[in-house]
Symmetry: C2
């Protein structure tokens, strides 16, 4: 079922059918109707593969996220799928597990030539990995990491958001604010949020106690639980916890609960991402809420605007955020 078949059926040339399909201006009404009838009758659908071979575009953007299991990324993916659909684009999904090797693979475009662009949320990727990129498809970066590279980057102001979160804890009279989630090994991923934590403490004239920084292997519930347990086992009893993300915060709250510590009376907790899950626990979670819809829209627009190799200045786009205060800091009201 191709243009040829329709052309045969309608008794016209292939190109005329193509003109009808593409709403070409100079086609008589009569001809348009006649061709359209054949199209409908045969149930013709254009073969996008062929069209794209010819046009050089595929109508597909790839989205590479660390992990779909994390609701923040799942929710973001959902928004991006919708934002792309609004531009008649579809999304090819991949996840990297946050591992540098896979991130490089994705960025080098192992699947190149099928996608028009790439939206990448890197975790371990280093700037040098992207510099070597000889690929021509546009890339947009998401997330906390900052790179001095000629690509658009969309993120909230992580330092300000973290500072705000910690300030909120301090305003409640807390003094020993732990930070959960500085990645073990590479200290990069949590750098900005850690910086915000430090700044807020400094501003308040407090000393940032490095022993209250707990490293994690990953960014899941279990990692948060392990980090919290390690902190308590080491004899530290902070009166507040600021976590790298909500999952870590929730894992930490579970451990606090197991140890008989009350949230927020004994330990106040703030997370990051504002995932739905945090709104339905026994203690709802105070969290930094990034504007996911905005990030999604910007990411799609940014990548599409660079399609034809259009090289405008790379931009840092700051998405909005706000701190949603809930029971894990305020208690039941």
């Amino acid at each position: 079922m191709s243009l040829k078949d329709v052309a045969l059926h309608a008794g016209v040339s292939v190109k005329t059918v193509s003109n009808v399909v593409n709403d070409f201006p100079h086609v008589t009404e009569a001809m348009r109707a006649r061709v359209q009838r054949s199209i409908d009758e045969l149930g013709y659908r254009p073969n996008l593969t062929a069209r794209h071979l010819r046009k050089g575009r595929t109508g597909i953007v790839a989205l590479a996220l660390p992990e779909l299991g994390n609701p923040y990324f799942a929710e973001l993916a959902a928004e991006i799928v919708d934002a792309a659909a609004a531009h008649d684009y579809t999304v090819l999904l991949d996840h990297t597990g946050g591992r540098r090797e896979r991130e490089i693979l994705v960025s080098q475009g192992f699947r190149t030539r099928v996608i028009d662009g790439l939206i990448l949320s890197p975790i371990e990727l280093e700037a040098e990995d992207l510099e070597e990129r000889a690929e021509q498809v546009p890339v947009v970066l998401l997330g906390e990491r900052e790179y001095d590279l000629p690509y658009d980057h969309i993120a909230i102001d992580n330092v300000a958001a973290a500072r705000e979160a910690v300030r909120h804890l301090l305003s409640l009279g807390r003094r020993d604010v732990a930070f959960l989630g500085a990645r073990r090994g590479s200290s990069q991923p949590a750098r900005l949020r850690l910086l915000g934590w430090r700044q807020a403490l400094d501003e308040a004239g407090l000393v940032a106690d490095d022993r209250l920084i707990a490293a994690t292997d990953g960014w899941g519930h279990a990692d948060g639980a392990a980090a919290m347990a390690a902190l308590l086992d080491a004899g530290h009893r902070p009166d507040a916890v600021f976590a790298y993300n909500d999952l870590i915060a929730i894992g930490a709250m579970r451990v606090l609960h197991e140890r008989g510590l009350r949230v927020p009376e004994d330990v106040a907790v703030v997370g990051f991402d504002d995932v739905v899950e945090g709104r339905f626990g026994a203690v709802t979670l105070t969290s930094v809420s990034p504007d996911k819809a905005f990030i999604a829209r910007q990411a799609v627009e940014s990548v599409l605007s660079r399609l034809g190799g259009a090289r405008h200045e790379p931009r840092r786009i700051h998405a909005g955020h706000c701190l949603v205060r809930r029971e894990s800091t305020l208690g039941r009201v």
Copy 2:
């Protein structure tokens, strides 16, 4: 950068380069090495679009899920991406919101000719919608709904799983077991799990009280919370709750907590899906755990095995499941 360029550079014909790229058997070592050198030197990568136009395959399967925000589907999507990658396939993602209109659109293949197959998890879709399907790409169905249609269907034994869950509650001495999550309007989606609930009560010689069935609009935390609240407001105080899925269960537990009811002492709760989230609440959630990895593998294999229009008998594939007992029924141990 195409085969032609490489051919020119190596001083051979286009097809010979193609033969080298595809590991065609009858190529001399010397020739292979010479061509390979040119390939490396020029950094050539095959254009998959063109390859697929020629071969009639795209190397892409579409995955259409109700919603990515639900961690069950997000986790399943992650597994499917991995399973597809094992076959050198990638996944094109879409979500339908569980709305019939969008499910039809997806099944009719509005994006046809870019994908080789479709893995669809329908919610409202009716059998007749699929019968009208004139598409040629293979489809595999996932999930609870059962259709008498010539497509493979992969799911756990929902009736048995639900029966098992309710039996577990009964074995703990509970007698008034509510069911949360029968979809308002179309009663289809929860049919099998509801059936299992009924069977387990019957077996135990209890009467299934329809007033303990609470309808929901969707399948999220908020829906579970609303349903639980409605049940309590209506003056019913079950001593156990079996929820259509974990999110509904967790939403319900939140409401129980707000009303001062203890889980599991006052009300025991069982969910369905075994999402990670359920393992880290203040009260961990007993849940039916489907074998997601198996479902994902089977879905991918099933769809790929039907690629060339190979028409073997449609199959009902039952994935395994087990009931994971946690605090929401057993209490802290």
